[in-house]
């Protein structure tokens, strides 16, 4: 068990006041090593909040969260940083690459925070870029790459530190269909190589690539993709 959420609630604003907004409602989720999970939901459903909680970027208002055996709610800011650095790889919709830096430098960024020496950083960055199929673009800067290639660089950056979980937030949201499909192929390949993937998306087609799917509606998490009843009210 890598990720274990028990009855997570997240309320924005002061609890119990008129301004309070519940974003997550008694969410429980377990992800095992090697799984490929998709969480699908429309915007405003709380899926970004869930992703922030899973990614140790945000702490829930109540509930329990264990990452491996660590009680995330008890971690200090610095320990959360270290956990993100060593155990979680992030992939975002809009890549967040540094435009002045080439692919190697972008990918090597987490390694430099982990204190890996320069030579070793470069070697591992090239290795990660090779895994995502960009071996021939390692010296390119983001503005010299297509959208799909940029997302591959971002994925290489996410896996370079060999994280326990790859956390992807709308990884194909900014890509055309073809590039998006290629990214999905890459995810399947990485998953088959042993990477645990949690993907958050609003697109049912994309979500269907995962081996296990969840839906999130109004802060509540449901198993499976099709549960018409509650949908209509959302």
């Amino acid at each position: 068990m890598i990720v274990k959420l028990n009855n997570i609630n997240k309320v924005y604003g002061q609890t119990g006041t008129e301004t309070s907004v519940p974003a997550l409602n008694n969410v429980s989720l377990q992800v095992d090593e090697g799984e490929y999970v998709a969480i699908m939901g429309p915007s405003g459903s709380g899926k970004s909040t869930l992703m922030n909680v899973i990614g140790c970027l945000d702490k829930p208002t109540s509930g329990e969260y264990y990452f491996e055996d660590k009680d995330v709610l008890r971690l200090k800011d610095r320990q959360m940083s270290d956990l993100r650095l060593h155990s979680i790889g992030f992939v975002f919709q809009s890549f967040y690459l540094m435009n002045e830096e080439n692919a190697i430098e972008n990918v090597a960024l987490p390694l430099s925070y982990a204190g890996v020496p320069k030579k070793e950083r470069e070697r591992r960055a090239i290795e990660a870029l090779t895994r995502v199929g960009l071996a021939d673009r390692v010296k390119f800067r983001p503005d010299q790459l297509s959208g799909g290639q940029k997302q591959r660089v971002a994925i290489a950056r996410a896996i370079v530190n060999n994280p326990k979980v790859l956390l992807a937030d709308e990884p194909t949201g900014a890509l055309d269909q073809k590039s998006g499909a290629a990214i999905m192929e890459l995810f399947e390949k990485l998953n088959s190589e042993g990477t645990t993937i949690i993907m958050i998306t609003h697109d049912a087609n994309i979500a269907s690539h995962a081996k296990k799917t969840y839906r999130i509606v109004d802060g509540k998490l449901y198993h499976g993709l099709e549960q018409e009843g509650e949908d209509e009210e959302a």
Partner: protein
């Protein structure tokens, strides 16, 4: 750290114009300070060089009466001032600060040195021992110096300065020529180089009065001949050569004390005093420094303004790079890393400003030098301190923006994009 430096240089390079404008405050402040310091330093060195000459380190200890050197041309020798004994001379020579010391008698010449129909106006006749030439760092240009035997045997020989050979002897070969000195005939045996080899820079009448002691030349005769050509029992002076320039004051004071202990004048305004050029130089230097230290304070205000400019731009930069900071924090950069990155950038920015400021300050000093005639001396320690100080400004004024960057919430930071 290296990674931070690389990022800092890249960031500065990406926004060349903005970075330069940000640095401008620092550049102007540092340039002003370097220019002022260089000018002060140059003026000081000039004062020192003009007064002391180029390092012969000699201190003249003369007998004074009422703050004026005792000149025997129109006066009788004062009571209670004996000739300087060998013991006194030995005491002076054994001082730690003294390299060598030699006694002499001297007269300013108004009339009384002749060659054929020419007479010498101005200048001095000095009665000296043979070791005087070495103490005064005089070099033989022609002929020879007189010997100890010649001194002991009252030989009427003399050594003249180069300028005397030119003016009095009309450029004739002076060796073997006969001069009339104090009514006696002296044979010229040698020529020494004119002592005042430096050319003082004269910018004003006060400079002229400070530097232009009328020395149109010196004629040296054996001290043993002095009573024959001039008078018995004239008080003697001492020329002391200090071990180093910094020892000049001490060497002069201590020698004067020893000499004053050996005399017992009835007129108590009579005493030996060292012509302390170093002290005079230092007084003049202090005067020039104190007027300029005000200017340095004004320039420092410009550095403060420059620092605030850096802080302002760094805050803008943090806002602009919110997404980048958010990403870095999301992928696991600790607060300290983000803080270090922005502090490094601020420090590199202001250090570059410091270096450019030093360079333009040196240029500015050269321009001032050309326009006003004051010399400049580039002070490298000051330049180093200026760059280090700029770096400190960057760090101090970078703290607030860096702190702000380090404390950004990654969720909010990523959402702004």
């Amino acid at each position: 750290m290296l990674e931070n430096l690389r990022l800092a240089f890249r960031g500065i390079w990406t926004h060349k114009l903005r970075s330069f404008l940000t640095m401008l405050g620092i550049i102007i402040g540092i340039a002003a300070i370097i220019a002022i310091v260089s000018t002060i330093e140059g003026t000081n060195q000039q004062i020192k060089q003009n007064l002391i000459g180029s390092g012969s380190n000699t201190v003249d200890i003369q007998l004074y009466q009422n703050d004026w050197p005792c000149d025997m041309s129109y006066n009788d020798p004062p009571y209670g001032v004996p000739q300087i004994s060998d013991d006194v001379l030995k005491d002076i020579r054994s001082l730690d600060e003294v390299k060598s010391a030699s006694k002499y008698t001297s007269r300013q010449i108004y009339d009384g040195v002749y060659y054929m129909n020419n007479s010498m106006n101005g200048g001095y006749v000095k009665g000296v021992e043979t070791d005087y030439f070495e103490t005064d760092n005089l070099t033989v240009k022609k002929g020879r110096l007189f010997t100890a035997d010649e001194v002991a045997d009252y030989k009427k020989v003399c050594v003249i300065e180069d300028s005397v050979a030119t003016d009095l002897l009309n450029n004739e070969d002076p060796i073997g020529k006969v001069l009339e000195i104090g009514g006696d005939s002296y044979v010229v045996v040698g020529v020494v180089a004119t002592r005042s080899t430096f050319e003082p820079t004269i910018n004003s009448i006060s400079d002229y009065e400070t530097y232009m002691q009328d020395e149109s030349g010196v004629v040296y005769i054996p001290i043993s001949d002095w009573p024959i050509s001039y008078r018995y029992d004239e008080p003697e002076n001492i020329l002391v050569r200090a071990v180093s320039t910094d020892d000049m004051t001490a060497a002069g004071k201590k020698s004067a004390d020893i000499l004053n202990g050996s005399i017992n004048p009835t007129d108590d305004t009579i005493k030996y005093e060292a012509t302390d050029l170093l002290e005079q130089a230092q007084q003049l230097q202090q005067l020039s420094s104190s007027t300029n230290s005000m200017l340095i304070w004004i320039a420092a205000i410009s550095l403060l303004v420059g620092g605030i400019g850096v802080m302002n731009i760094m805050l803008v930069s943090v806002t602009e790079r919110t997404a980048e900071i958010g990403l870095k924090k999301a992928i696991g950069a600790r607060k300290g890393k983000i803080m270090a990155q922005f502090l490094t950038e601020a420090a590199v920015l202001t250090s570059m400003g410091g270096v450019l400021g030093v360079v333009s300050g040196i240029g500015l000093a050269q321009i001032i030098s050309i326009m006003s005639g004051t010399p400049v001396a580039i002070s490298w320690p000051a330049a180093f301190v200026a760059v280090a100080f700029s770096m400190v400004i960057g760090i101090v004024f970078g703290i607030l923006p860096s702190h702000q960057a380090a404390n950004l919430n990654p969720i909010d930071a990523l959402r702004t994009n």
